[in-house]
Symmetry: C2
Subunit: 208 residues, 2 copies
DNA sequence: AGCTGTCAACTGAACGGTTAGTTGATATGC
DNA sequence: GCATATCAACTAACCGTTCAGTTGACAGCT
């Protein structure tokens, strides 16, 4: 469920993949990260309970401090572990921003916990200057690609490229971001419909 | 225990506005609500400290429980106190959705704490079914107005009216919602520019 | 006007439970 | 044998909540 795990054990000179030992630091780290992802997504940093994370990971509280130093350190590690998912270039195509928005929508739809995690981060750890470096670097490339698409005329230059990127992401997140009050329960829309609304919105935004 | 905070002081028969007595229940309630608004906006429910709120309000901790029953009761009271601001009809005009988005943007821009409060509510108190009733009722009226505007042709019917309302609100909140990573510091836009981007976005969304 | 009884606003201090973080001992793989 | 992964027990602080008691405001009585 989590991002690719390097599990860099080759440095220790192991040749082939050995049988899983009863004590596997990497596996424990991984279980802790997964349990912490779920706990932080639901309760945030202040509301998360270290004991619950340790229990859910079938590990011990002390290991959290051994591996991650502190509760906040664990949160940063969780965020970092999912950063590659968030910045994945493979979903981005400056020449097809509506399609990009659709794929982004699918991401948020399939992993709403990651969207919540990002929101908690924004609320609780703003200005901590942690782990947003790589994301900003990834955005630079995307903004450059949008600039190029604008020069070629396939995208309107009404909006600056960074604004356009922000708008696409915002619209893709719309139904995750929106408070529940604005969901009309009597007239709820299916996932497929909402996806189509997002795509159409972006299509209208970039029309020359 | 939780819902018993009507505080109808008119029963005491106060005639004109007298000099503020040293002990004024209404004033204390108000100070607590203001201090709680600031505290909850910054730290959320789990992160807020009842002691800090009491100190900031120059009141005693026990009074919070006397007036609001519990920490969560206080949060709900804070939300309720600001609900009228959020649902204010005077800013909404179905025949001028871009302008509406601009006015909404101004709201979020002038009171970012209220936007944070709403986000905390969504994350920490989702499904509590408290105090969202009036907001949903207010939305019903707005959705009906949009439906009418669509029938008159001044607004596209590409999107259902409730979706359109959600999109307008989402776009108006865009720069409050967006994580800091998507702010380009080297190329930051002024408030006036961002306001214009929001308006132009909605204009494009509703174009027939 | 002065005295007094009553009620509500207010307070300081504590309580019971919980929490993040620590430690030192034990078990395990190499 | 040695490094380290693991764990139960521990602690010191903290936090929401309660409570017994105090103080101020005001109405009624004389």
């Amino acid at each position: 469920m989590l991002g690719s795990v390097p599990a860099d054990r080759s440095a220790r000179g192991e040749s082939a993949a050995p049988a899983r030992p009863l004590r596997d630091a990497d596996a424990t780290r991984q279980r802790l990260l997964e349990a912490a992802t779920a706990e932080f997504a639901v309760h945030g940093i202040a509301g998360a309970r270290v004991d619950r994370i340790a229990t859910a990971a079938q590990a011990n509280k002390a290991q959290i401090y051994h591996y991650f130093g502190s509760k906040e350190g664990l949160f940063d590690a969780v965020l970092g572990a999912h950063a590659n998912v968030a910045t994945a270039e493979e979903y981005f195509d400056a020449d097809d921003l509506p399609g990009t928005a659709g794929r982004l929508f699918d991401q948020f739809d399939s992993r709403p916990d990651l969207a919540r995690l990002a929101t908690w981060y924004r609320l609780e750890r703003a200005g901590s200057e942690r782990s947003i470096g790589p994301i900003m670097a990834a955005n630079e490339a995307k903004i450059a690609a949008i600039t190029l698409a604008q020069r070629q005329g396939s995208v309107t230059d009404t909006f600056p490229p960074d604004v356009l990127l922000g708008l696409v992401i915002t619209l893709a997140m719309a139904w995750v971001t929106l408070p529940p009050e604005f969901e009309n329960p009597a007239n709820a829309h299916s996932t497929g419909q909402r996806r189509e609304f997002v795509i159409e919105s972006v299509r209208r935004l970039i029309a020359p």
